[in-house]
Structure formats: C-alpha cells, structure tokens
Amino acid sequence: MKSRLATPMRVTALVLVVLVCLLPFWWMFVVSLRKRVDIFSGPSLWPSHATFANYTALFSEYHMGAFLTNSTIVVGASVLVSLLIGTPAAYALARFKLAGRLNSFGLVGALLVRMVPPILLVVPFYIVLAHLGLLDSRLGLTVIYTGINTSFVIWMMQSFLAEIPSEIEEAALVDGDSRWTAMRRIMLPLAGPGLAATSIFAVITTYNDFLIALTMTSTPQAQTVPVGISTLIGKIQVQWGPMAAAGIIGAVPILIFAMAVQRHFVRGMTMGAVK
C-alpha cells in the first residue's frame, strides 16, 4: 500500500523539480525571440512572430563578438596554463612523501585560494593589476584566473591521481623508466578522464566569473561575456530582448560543457570531497 502510493508521489515531485529548474530557461529563450512590441503586448509561453533580431542586434550594436572573443582567449589561456603547472604539482603531492608536511600544507594552501569568495580579494587584485599596468587587459585577467584555476587543478588532480594504484607506476620504474618517463608514459594516459573533467570544470567557472572581470576591465577590449551581459542593464532602461538573447548566449556553451562532466559534477563542486 505504502509503496504503491509512494511511487506516484515521487514521480510527481520529480516532474515538478525538473519543471521548476527548466521553465525559467524556457522563459528567457522565449523573450529572446520576441520583438520589442511583442514583449510589451503581454507574457507568453510561446514566441509568436519569432525572430533572431535580438541576437543580430547583440553582435551589431552591443559588442557581443568582442565579448565572446575575450572570454575564449582568457578562459582558454588561463585553463591551459593552470593545467600545465597544476598537474605536476598535484602529482608531486599525490605520489611523494615530502619534507615538512608539505603534502598537507600544499593541499590546504591550494584549497584556501579556491574557496575564499572573490569579493574579498577584488580590491587587492585591482591594486596589484594597477601596479603592473594590466587593468582592462586580457593578460591581466588571464594572470588572475590562472592563479585561481591552479588551486582547483591541484585539488582535483591530486584526488584523481591518488586513485591510480602506485603499483602500476612502480612496475614502470622497475622496468627502467625514470620518474619523468613513468609520469608521461603511464600516469598521464590513466589520468586522462580526470584531466578532462578538471579542465571542463575550470572552463565553466572561469567563463562564468563576473566580479573579477567586472572590476578589472572597463571596455569591450577586455570585457568578458558576463560583464557584457550586465552592460545591457542600464540605470534607467533595460534592453529586455537583447538581454535575454545575451543570457542564452552566456548559458548555452556552459550547459553543453556541463553535460560532458555530469558524472563528475558533485566531485567537482565539492573539490573531490564527495564522489
């Protein structure tokens, strides 16, 4: 009796949850396809007279092309560099017993950098970039993102690498490989999936960052997509249609990336603490 009642209840709850999660996205999509006059004629769940005018306006009038270029460059460069310097560090922490409890300190230090909310550091970041003459530049943003991503890469990769049995690697060492060759020949291929998940997570969080980009940039020569979206919200007037279209452009690449890592999602969001 209990279980027969429980299943419909569960299904209803799940359908509701999915609807609540997805309907707001649908709403934004519908607004993004409507013309200004149609938007003001009242709400609708279906776009009557659907048009891509808002999207073309974004590129021709609101610098969306520049924002996308900036985001791509800054995200790509910072994730690549942080993988290159973070993965070896993670390997060192996962595989060696280091002097002076460096294993613990290294990990904790990395986590601290990652977990402190960026608002607490934007003023100092701003001062540092001003010193270096890197305000309103893609290079300046890349430098900051690289540092923050490195901390994430160290934690995630340390947790993935620690799962690879060290016997495999020791076998390679016995076969005469150096540590370096063993790392390249044995560990890297085995760590491939972890590496992929880590980089996708880093791409998502970096692309989504708003606060750091907002404070460190001021013109379309360095502003990223989230900052670009916020420029459509004027003090007096909001460009509803273009803003919705920009929201869709901001969301779609991230949703695609997220699907690729959904199996690792909890792990990424909890930095390896929950698998």
Binding site: C21, G86, A92, F96, A110, L121, S230, A251, T270, G272
Partner: protein
Amino acid sequence: MATKTAVAPTGHRARRWDRDRLLPYLLLIPAGLALALVSAYPIYEGVRASLTQYLYGRAHGSAGLKNYTDVMHDSTFWTAMGVTTKFVFICVVVETLLGLGLALLVVKEVKGIKFIRMSILAPMTVAPVVVGVIWRLIFSSETGFVDPVFTALGLGAPRMLTHEATAFWGLVMVDVWEWTPLLFLICLAGLQGLPQEPLEAATVDGAGPIRVFFNHTLPLLIPVLAVGIILRLIDAIGTFDQIFVLTRGGPGTATQLISIYAYNTAFNFTDYGHGAAMLIALLVFVFLLVLVAVSLMRRAARKSA
C-alpha cells in the same frame, strides 16, 4: 631480490636517485608561484591599502588603523552585515532541508536519474549573471509571469523586487532555485554511498522509516552533509553577481549584502582604504570558516576513498 638491493648503487644510479628526490619540489615551484600571485601578494597589498588614506581614488599617506575604526563605527556596514547574515542563514537552511528531502524521495528511483540530474544541473552551472538575467525577466512587470499571474488571481501585482519588504525574499527565492540542486546532488551521492546492511537490519528489527532515518541514516550522512553545508555557507557569504543584476542592493538598503556595499565603497566611491579594511575584516572570519571546511573535506575525502 635481497642481493640485488644490497648492491651499492652505481654512479649512474646515485645521480638518478638525487634527481628523483628533487623532482617533486621542482614540480611544485611554478604552481606555488601562481598561487602566491593570487593570494599572498594581493593580501599583502590589501592590508597595506587598508592602512592607507585614500581621497578620490588616490593614496594620501598612512591612515594607521583609522579605516578599521571607521568600519566599526559605520552603521551601513553593520546593516549590510545583518542583511548578509539573514540571507546566508535562511538560504542555507532552506536549501539543505529541501535538498535532503528531495534526495531521500528519489534515492531508490534509479530510472531517469540521468535526465533529472542533467536538468537540475542547469541552474547552478550557468553563470550567476545569467541566473540574475533569468529572474529579472521573470520578476519584471514588463516581461515576467509573476505579476500577470497574481493579477489574474485578483491579488494585485506584487512587483517583488521594487518593494523593500519583498525584494529580500525575491533574492532568497533565486538563491534557493540556483543552489538547492547542489545540496540535492551532494545528499544523493552521500545516500547512495551509505552501507545498506545497518539500515536493513534496523528495518527488520521493526524500526519505522522515521526512526531509521534519525537513528541510522542521518548520523552516517553527516560527514557528507557537513561538507555541502559549509561549502554553500562560504559561497553564500560572497553572493554578488545575481544581486548586482537584480537589485544592486536596493530598494534602499533592503538587499545590500556586504559584498555589494564593499564593492560600492571601493569602486563607486573609490575609497579603497575603507573598502579594503572591510574586506580584510571579513576575510579573517571567512578564513576561519574555510579552515573548518578544509578539515571536514579531508575527512570526508579520506572516508570515501
């Protein structure tokens, strides 16, 4: 085997041994420098700024501890701290309870979990700015459905974000929408990782589902749940993007979280000293929370490994 290891290392081997011993430290150096560049160095600069007097964005000599005493006597700062505390507390409690409840509801339902997981990932993976845009569209009287629905029901348009009494609750709603999925997924992962035997044994012994939950499931779930809660807590303290897009702290100071106030102080009023002092004070507090989080996480990670 024994004779092999007893042989004294040849010159070639000894060199390799040395190189191998140095290798991990060499591997750590670039990452260490990158981390220092975004932590130690900015914090040093931040502390220095907090001890400096700024006028119209320019440094005007040392201020001693004046910026800090100013913050302590700044009533807007304390209002913002109050709003932040209320916001963080309500959001985290609601999200935890909802997330846990939903996870308990579906833990046995394996079918369709992939699709469900995919849909509920959406709110928390897209940029918080996009979340802000979505809800700005929904709450707006021009593009949204909240006001028309209420009007149709004869309740009058609430225009939630424009009234001091309701704007705060609008933001809570948005945060709950965005982050309940995370706690749901964490709880689900925790529940699915629980050993089944003690739970089944308790049921066989005649314990009801509620007894089983409080006596057996919950205690086992605590380590994972604690990680989720404290991560969310730290993150919620820094909430900025959505609020910047939705209300910018208004109307009045109804939704002015400490993040918004600090941002305005530093970047709109270009009083970097006052802003830095505020943020350094908050940093010390969050730092303690993070240390708690780290120890909880390392314990949970060791357990699930």
